[in-house]
Symmetry: C2
DNA sequence: GTATCTGCAAAACATTTGCAATTCT
DNA sequence: AGAATTGCAAATGTTTTGCAGATAC
């Protein structure tokens, strides 16, 4: 993903977030690495560039980003939270073999649950687990 | 929910689970209280009846139940895991005001995500958050 | 009598909190 | 200077692990 610092700063300001150096780097990481990282992954990657960087800042910043709606939390992996800079409606699929998390597009009308009538839905978390295409192939060839 | 100990024992055996006293009580609790309890809630309720009962046993037992497929884990509340003895396909809705977790039926065809083609889905976790019917009413009357 | 199950105590993690130092305007 | 942000260190809360004793077949 290509994104310029200027655009990030602009984007943060328009969402009521003061663009500190740490916040910019964190958001930049999220946009450039669409890998649904954990707090630890973000910390691990940015401590290289920012020697005084702390986990607390990641926690603080994620909380702020979520409150301002520019990041959403994914709880597909019950051990630790993961984050996604793509806040549009989409599902996730986690492969139980390779542990990869895939973004799954959800087209309009593909999720239409009549039982939700009367509930005011503000967040949706649609997560699947199983075996991804790539791991299915490998398994097949091993068996045959 | 009405269920007899005999039925539970039968059911466990048919799923390859040795029916110990603790396991029976835990499963009985899950079936009679369809409230998606946390480990702590289960522990808290059963320690009353089993003075030597331990949290470890709850963790061990839930792991076993999940492995044998008679219970599923709900991660709608990222703080702690919740459990559901209803393993059929259905969604969950957590009210951000009253914190209640509702079971939402999902009829055949209501979730049909074409982007999942090629993925072998073995688990689905469809969770929503927002304001439930009851809390919506109260809010409305406060505002008007 | 051997396997399994249970439960205590300690350890391991992820996350939160308090607060002092730093940074920004 | 004043307000917000950062980050260290300690606390918290959930879950896991090691192991000894209890229980079941």
């Amino acid at each position: 993903m290509e994104i310029k610092q200027n655009e990030i700063i602009e984007f943060m300001r328009s969402n009521g977030i003061k663009p500190s150096y740490q916040r910019i780097k964190i958001y930049e990481y999220l946009v450039k690495n669409r890998n649904h990282p954990t707090t630890e992954i973000i910390y691990h990657n940015l401590i290289k560039k920012i020697p005084t960087f702390s986990r607390t800042t990641v926690y603080n910043t994620m909380e702020l980003f979520i409150k301002r709606g520019i990041v959403s939390m994914i709880s597909i992996d019950e051990k630790e939270a993961r984050f996604d800079a793509d806040t549009s409606v989409h599902a996730h699929f986690m492969c139980t073999i390779c542990k990869n998390i895939y973004d799954i597009p959800v087209k309009s009308g593909e999720v239409n649950i009549s039982g939700l009538k009367g509930f005011k839905v503000s967040e949706n978390h649609i997560n699947f687990k199983g075996i991804c295409k790539s791991c299915s192939k490998h398994n097949k060839s091993e068996i045959n």
